[in-house]
């Protein structure tokens, strides 16, 4: 496992978060919340593009050809596998997971790797508004189910105390390790993560998750551009 693997996980998760936000751009509880969902979706899709662009300068691009055919090779959290059906799922992702990704970006910006220090800094400014949005909706009260699940997946995503994230912290490439990331997340949200007994033996260090599964078929087809092709005009070759 390497820093590139972590950046790819961050990129895949930002991409999926952006897509799931966008799905709520006409379903949120108010017009303002609709617009915020669309704007945050665009932000996170843009962030994912920047993060994918960091893989080459980092020296080792871990993206394999199987990403085109097997959704289980994408490194998104299980929380993003299926479209959200409840607004409380949106809020929990916005408040907990989006902030967890921001905290990791802070660790990258504060670390010793030039390309991450410089390219990721602007994301932190944009993420301030995602945080305000998530925190405010969180304070209005949401179901415990999505909230507990988001906390669990965020803490798991930071990784075990003796894993790769901790090693990257020791090497100075990240300014925070798993314990510091968790503390920072709790400070930001002014809340303690619920108690969870993660079995790190069953945790997948590449996808940074414990749950099996993968993104739904429709979303995977959309990511690959197959949904778009359904609406494309027939090519000249086919017409002939």
């Amino acid at each position: 496992m390497s820093l590139s693997d972590l950046v790819l996980s961050l990129a895949d998760n930002k991409q999926m978060l952006g897509l799931r936000y966008a799905e709520w751009a006409t379903r949120a509880p108010s017009l303002e919340a609709d617009i915020a969902a669309a704007a945050m979706g665009l932000d996170d899709l843009g962030h994912s593009r920047v993060l994918y662009g960091c893989l080459e300068p980092l020296g080792a691009d871990p993206r394999a050809p199987e990403r085109e055919s097997d959704p289980a090779t994408l490194r998104n959290l299980a929380y993003f596998d299926e479209p959200w059906t409840e607004w409380s799922q949106f809020v929990a992702a916005n408040a907990i997971l989006d902030t967890a990704f921001t905290v990791m970006i802070e660790a990258c910006v504060g670390g010793s790797v030039d390309v991450l220090q410089h390219r990721l800094r602007k994301m932190l400014m944009e993420e301030r508004y995602h945080f305000l949005h998530g925190r405010s909706w969180l304070r209005s009260g949401i179901d415990a189910g999505p909230l507990d699940r988001a906390w669990l997946e965020a803490i798991e995503w930071f990784g075990p105390s003796d894993g790769e994230t901790a090693a990257l912290h020791r090497e100075g490439k990240l300014s925070m390790g798993p314990a510091e990331l968790r503390t920072r997340l709790e400070e930001q949200l002014e809340a303690k993560a619920p108690r969870a007994n993660t079995d790190w033996k069953t945790w997948d260090p590449v996808r940074r998750r414990s749950r099996p599964g993968a993104v739904d078929a429709h979303t995977f087809a959309m990511l690959r551009g197959l949904e778009e092709k359904k609406y494309a005009p027939p090519t000249a070759a086919k017409q002939a």
Partner: protein, 73 residues
């Protein structure tokens, strides 16, 4: 500022001000409705961020002290 109210429940109306350069004054670009300042900031940024503003600020509409209104002078 319009007298039209679209506030319901605990929501509050905020006026949004912005400017593109330091030499021009802040001017009103619109409004948002939100239950608190945090969400109002997030909504203002999401709604009015199409242009490259160098400054944006929000103020609760109820905090604006009106000296006179149209038709009063």
């Amino acid at each position: 500022m319009s007298n039209y109210k679209r506030v319901s429940g605990d929501a509050v109306e905020y006026e949004v001000f912005a400017r593109k350069t330091r030499v021009e004054p802040l001017h009103q670009v619109g409004s948002v409705v939100a239950p608190d300042d945090d969400l109002a900031m997030a909504y203002a940024r999401a709604t009015y961020d199409e242009e490259r503003w160098c400054e944006m600020a929000i103020v609760r509409k109820e905090h604006v002290i009106e000296l006179w209104s149209p038709g009063e002078v």
